[in-house]
Subunit: 113 residues, 2 copies
DNA sequence: TGCTAATACTTAAGAATCTTATGTATCTTT
DNA sequence: AAAGATACATAAGATTCTTAAGTATTAGCA
């Protein structure tokens, strides 16, 4: 089962930041594969969504990049900047908090009745 | 703390359906107040987002409506149709599943290291 | 060797969904 | 009487995603 795309909306940035926190240095395509693997194919990040997001994060100064060549093939590695690190903590905490609230909302009946 | 609006994206429809499942019959404004109350102000559904969503749900046949007057003031009550009920179960389950996956993604480090 | 699939990045057009703003009207409280 | 809360609706703009197309390299296989 692949989650409907609506659900993933709004969480992509946070996922990317978290991946970089855990893995220190990653390139875009690698992120799509890693997330796919970790979520057992349930979350599929499309390149059309990912790359613009990475460019935004770079413009915002949350990540830095290094272009490297594996043979002739270019890979653009991303790492968290200091601001990126604190932003990651913020966002992950907010998302965790949000999910707790949502779980409460979705389970009201079971919890009160 | 109010959650950044990005987080709520994609969950509004599910929240509305769940509210109707728990409360049987509600009108739009009431939903905004109920969600605000239940989430201690953390989730604020704006009317500009809610009403179009309710209209969509009606067009999709997931809810039925009844217009009632409280004095001269109109209230449009919404209820789940049979299709709406099964759709609610589907969506709530999917969201719960998605949140488990996200929790796993966000906590990898704590779980593996 | 030549084809296909996978790897790796980019960007543009369109769709979906939300914010912000505005409008209308009624009712309650001060 | 005015202000704020209640109750609905919708339009313009912003954001973020999907879909699609393009370019190029590398790996695997028949």
């Amino acid at each position: 089962m692949i989650y409907s795309s609506e659900l993933i909306k709004g969480t992509l940035k946070t996922i990317v930041l978290k991946m970089l926190e855990d893995n220190v240095r990653m390139y875009g395509y690698e992120m799509t594969q890693k997330v796919k693997e970790l979520t057992k194919e349930r979350i599929q990040i499309t390149e059309g969504a990912l790359y613009p997001t990475l460019h935004m994060l770079e413009q915002e100064g949350l990540v830095t990049t290094e272009l490297e060549y594996n043979g002739k093939r270019a890979r653009k590695y991303y790492s968290l900047s200091p601001e990126g690190k604190s932003k990651t903590t913020e966002r992950v905490n907010e998302l965790a908090d949000f999910m707790n609230t949502m779980k409460f909302l979705l389970d009201i009946k079971t919890q009160t009745a």
